[in-house]
Symmetry: C2
Subunit: 146 residues, 2 copies
DNA sequence: TTGCTTGCAAATGATTTGCACTGCT
DNA sequence: AGCAGTGCAAATCATTTGCAAGCAA
């Protein structure tokens, strides 16, 4: 998906939720797309000093509701944010338990398909209406291992 | 593992970290063992009104450090706590995106073995020293589906 | 008596919100 | 005009911490 497609998709998703694709929101999407990995709010503000903290939190919430952005908790103090899988590819996370950084990883598509089938079965057994799944691998990153 | 074994293991793990197995800590372990699913701190305090908030947070931290308890983030406002897999069986979580409740689930051991191998490979490729993994399935629970 | 634990109250810090203002539409 | 979006400052709330007292080795 090109950068233009990305913005068009983001705009369309926001429109579905009666939200505008403002310059600030575009800046957030642009920045998340430029980074390979999930970023925290402080990182986002450092990359885009023109953005404000409270409005960025608000915009991230709007973008989440529109399924443009996904919030990831568990990697350190701050939540991490990344583009939703609607706009990128399905992937999982390698989380450093020491520094909290998060790396994207993908699995073999055949394995993913098998997992999907298994997870569907599990959900049905428990009466759940399944939305999706996430896999996190925990460890120490190359940098923290020293 | 019997309830006595559980407490002995907990005590041994705490001892390895030069920590005592106090009545409060025993109460926490006892309560987590009695519940099938991960609980939040408010739930824990409701189940055991004799426990204090701050000390319980401190004790949960000590129990975490000793790998007796595991903290799970992402299921609603509060963190959830459960006995560490050292004391129970390897399992994953079915998280209700609406009410935040968490259910334990297990996967077929063959699938788990395949996942372990795959995850090891992925970690090596990224220079990570792998500790473990977690899988969360997101959806709406039977109750919230109405 | 030395030091881990505890309970209370106060602090911390990420995230949220109130409010007035700006700028689309 | 009407209302979504913004920025600032203040509030919220789960979690953490300071401190004085309790208790075990």
């Amino acid at each position: 998906m090109t950068r233009d497609d990305l913005h068009r998709s983001a705009e369309a998703r926001l429109a579905d939720h009666e939200q505008r694709y403002t310059p600030n929101r575009r800046a957030i999407v642009e920045t998340l797309a430029a980074r390979a990995n999930p970023v925290t709010l402080p990182e986002l503000l450092r990359l885009r000093p023109d953005l404000t903290q409270s409005s960025t939190y608000r915009n991230l919430t709007a973008l989440q509701d529109a399924e443009v952005v996904r919030r990831i908790v568990g990697g350190g103090e701050h939540a991490h944010f990344e583009l939703d899988e609607h706009l990128t590819a399905h992937h999982h996370h390698l989380v450093c338990v020491q520094c909290g950084s998060i790396l994207d990883v993908t699995l073999d598509p055949r394995l993913e398909r098998r997992l999907d089938r298994t997870f569907d079965d599990v959900a049905v057994q428990h009466g759940f209406d399944l939305d999706g799944h996430s896999i996190e691998l925990f460890g120490r990153c190359a940098t923290c291992r020293g």
